[in-house]
């Protein structure tokens, strides 16, 4: 076998040397959160890159983050609020729809960005190792800045309409966490599927559009719940769509007019967590072939 073996290294480290074993993967993959934690700085840098590049490349920069939900809210107000006369839980319709659209836009952007993220990072994936989960996570997280940029306008509108948040505002971070979970869960599924099935690219815009209509953004959940109950379905069933809980929860936390939609939020939370866990597991189980397929 080998000729010149047995050369000793200069200064072998005294502490335990990390041992890495590479073997063919088993069918079921673990999520390996500890490894993800080790790479938190990479996650930070990728989020930072996404934000930086997006704001550098566009003329309007941060203004896009406000313009998107605002323009949509104006159109919704005209057509659904005025012409169709859709209810808004006693809130001014512009405020009602802008609040809903804020979190909805975060979710929709999250899906769009994360579903394309892994394929778009092919140059990284084929050249260097890191936990691949970092990529869709960074894509979803970078949307938080847009959300933060667009939120002050909600405050301005609330001041204009003289509506002040109640105690519900304290729960706002939890509602935002739920939004993050929902976007991440669905985003992980789409990102992994997109690598194997490039059809996903076409499915996402369509999916987002349909999803908007089944989520109480244009209309309040209170309009739909009675119809469901008439069919013998409990009102919280609407929360099986995780975004229903997010949108209703966000409106309640910021505008605080209705009673707390607790059962709705609970149902959404369970579904969002389930999506996240299964999404991460599915992602992990197919990621080993990413470098070969991308």
């Amino acid at each position: 076998m080998a000729a010149a073996e047995g050369r000793v290294s200069a200064g072998a480290p005294a502490e335990a040397v990390p041992v890495l074993v590479i073997e063919p993967g088993r069918r079921l993959a673990a999520v390996r959160l500890n490894e993800l934690w080790q790479y938190r700085e990479l996650l930070y840098f990728l989020v930072w890159r996404d934000i930086k590049v997006r704001y550098k490349q566009t003329v309007l920069g941060a203004a896009w983050a406000i313009l998107q939900p605002l323009a949509t809210a104006v159109v919704f107000t005209l057509f659904f609020g005025r012409l169709a006369g859709i209810g808004s839980d006693g809130l001014p319709y512009p405020l009602f729809s802008y609040a809903g659209l804020l979190v909805w836009t975060f979710f929709a952007q999250g899906l769009a960005q994360s579903s394309a993220s892994v394929v778009g990072s092919a140059n990284l994936i084929t050249k260097v190792y890191f936990p691949r989960l970092v990529i869709p996570l960074a894509a979803v997280l970078s949307g938080l800045l847009d959300l933060a940029v667009a939120t002050p306008l909600l405050g301005v509108m609330m001041a204009y309409y003289g509506i002040w948040p109640g105690a519900g505002i304290l729960v706002l971070p939890l509602v935002l966490l739920l939004a993050l979970l929902a976007a991440t869960g669905v985003g992980l599924w789409l990102a992994a599927l997109n690598v194997e099935y490039r059809d996903v690219r076409y499915v996402v815009p369509f999916l987002v559009q349909l999803w908007l209509f089944v989520t109480p953004v244009i209309y309040p959940a209170s309009v739909v719940a009675p119809h469901l109950e008439k069919l013998g379905v409990p009102g919280w069933a609407l929360g099986l769509n995780p975004m229903a809980g997010v949108v209703e929860g966000f409106r309640w936390a910021t505008l605080g007019r209705t009673a707390a939609p607790i059962s709705l939020i609970l149902a959404s939370t369970i579904v969002a967590i389930a999506l996240c866990v299964t999404g991460a597991l599915y992602f992990r189980s197919v990621e080993r072939s990413f470098a070969d397929v991308v």
């Binding site: 076998m1 080998a2 000729a3 010149a4 073996e5 047995g6 050369r7 000793v8 290294s9 200069a10 200064g11 072998a12 480290p13 040397v17 990390p18 041992v19 890495l20 074993v21 590479i22 073997e23 063919p24 993967g25 700085e41 990479l42 930070y44 840098f45 990728l46 930072w48 890159r49 930086k52 590049v53 550098k56 490349q57 140059n123 990284l124 994936i125 084929t126 050249k127 260097v128 190792y129 890191f130 690598v195 194997e196 099935y197 490039r198 059809d199 080993r288 072939s289 470098a291 070969d292 397929v293």
Partner: protein, 425 residues
């Protein structure tokens, strides 16, 4: 003997043919699932093993080269070691923190400035933020881009871009470093600088696996090398021997016109081969005298002679045979196809690889067709019968053994004056 830093055992990687380039569409998957159900679940898939039964060990602090032709499995091996792709079978143990460098500038973003890219690229290569902070000035100095630190890299020249990219990568400090071909970029000056830095890295006690086509780089950096061929290990051992084995395996039996340096419409070589006992071959042992058969197409009536140039494995001209000029091989040929056949009376050559330039010429007037390295042959290692010594091209003592006539013992002329007697050196 210390425990190895890298232990690779029985490693294999199988690709489905086409898998690397194609992804599935949903429709295809669905229709496949349907057909599979109706055909009793039998799947016939064509697969290839990009890597098979690969085992070797690397000691801590050792710098090992990986050589082989394109498609020999070098990149696949490196991708498995750096965890980019999973093996199909086998096992790898890596003792120490691993860093891999499969290209320079991975993840560089053109819109970001030099400063920003240093942090981004560093993080992607696995450096901690504090580590990058610490080495920042060093990286900038190495890349020589101080003045352009806050300019987006899209405005950089190619040279600046590569210098910066390599500078970040060169400051990676894992215990095990996996490097692929990164030196194959930039101008000669830059390559020299990179090679120098790689040498520092290699001497710094780190374990390095280095894949490259650059023979000089491998020879300078690596004491031992692994030769891969067709996905399996051909040889593991001293770099010098590895290159001999690699060369010997690299001959291409086919006649090649890739290096046609002169072409005229008058005449051209269409085929050539070396024959031994009537059979086409490219491997000889010392003492064999192969026939060279060259087929040529003459399109205009002209004087034609065949000339042959033998080159050594570094492509240096070694033996020249101008048949026309030696007075025995110039012919007045009408248009048509002709076959030249000559026997090569090779002198005593060192073992190794040789190539043949084939030339059609109007003797001493002009070249009609000139094909460099049209044929390649390998001379197997043969020991000199008297001593068992093997003359190899790699020794750097030329390629032709000079024969001498006298082998009488040295004649005793006179005794040395006593005062000058010296002891054994």
């Amino acid at each position: 003997m210390s425990a190895p830093a890298i232990r690779v055992s029985g490693l294999g990687k199988r690709y489905r043919i086409g898998e690397r380039v194609r992804y599935k569409s949903l429709r295809e998957s669905l229709s496949n699932a349907v057909t599979r159900t109706f055909r009793g679940g039998r799947r016939t898939e064509e697969t290839i093993w990009a890597l098979k039964d690969v085992s070797f060990e690397v000691a801590p602090g050792e710098v090992v080269g990986v050589i082989g032709r394109n498609g020999a499995g070098k990149s696949t091996l490196l991708k498995i070691l750096s965890r980019i792709t999973e093996p199909t079978e086998g096992r790898v143990e890596l003792h120490g923190r691993v860093g891999s460098l499969l290209e320079v500038g991975t993840g560089f973003h053109l819109e970001l400035t030099g400063r920003e890219n240093i942090y981004l690229n560093g993080a992607i290569l696995g450096m901690k933020r504090a580590e990058i902070d610490r080495k920042f000035d060093e990286i900038v100095a190495f890349a020589e881009i101080e003045r352009f630190l806050d300019t987006p890299v899209k405005h950089y020249s190619t040279g600046m871009y590569l210098r910066l990219a390599f500078a970040v990568a060169a400051h990676l400090e894992p215990e095990i470093l996996l490097v692929d071909e990164v030196l194959a970029v930039g101008d000669a000056e830059f390559q020299k600088k990179c090679l120098g830095k790689m040498g520092d890295v290699a001497r710094g006690g780190r374990t390095v696996v280095f894949v490259s086509h650059d023979e000089l780089a491998i020879r300078r950096l690596c004491s031992r090398s692994v030769v891969l061929e067709g996905g399996t290990i051909l040889f593991v051992g001293l770099t010098e021997d590895a290159f001999s084995r690699y060369r010997a395996s690299r001959h291409d039996p086919a006649f090649s016109v890739d290096l046609r340096t002169v072409a005229t419409p008058v005449a051209r070589i269409t085929n050539a081969q070396l024959l031994l006992g009537g059979h086409s071959t490219t491997e000889f042992v010392a003492g064999q005298q192969p026939d060279l058969v060259v087929t040529a197409e003459v399109c205009e009536r002209t004087y034609v002679s065949l000339e042959v140039l033998v080159r050594d494995e570094n492509s240096r001209p070694l033996l020249f045979c101008p048949l026309g000029l030696s007075g025995c091989g110039q012919y007045d040929l009408a248009p048509g196809v002709y076959r030249f056949k000559v026997q090569l009376l090779l002198p005593q050559l060192a073992s190794g690889r040789y190539s043949l330039d084939l030339i059609l010429a109007e003797a001493n007037v002009r070249f009609l067709d000139y094909v460099e390295q049209a044929l390649v042959f390998v001379l197997a290692a043969t020991a000199l019968p008297a001593t068992g010594w093997v003359f190899r091209q790699t020794r750097g003592q030329g390629a032709v053994l000079l024969d001498v006539v006298s082998s009488a013992p040295p004649e005793h002329v006179s005794a040395l004056p006593t005062g000058l007697l010296r002891g054994p050196l």
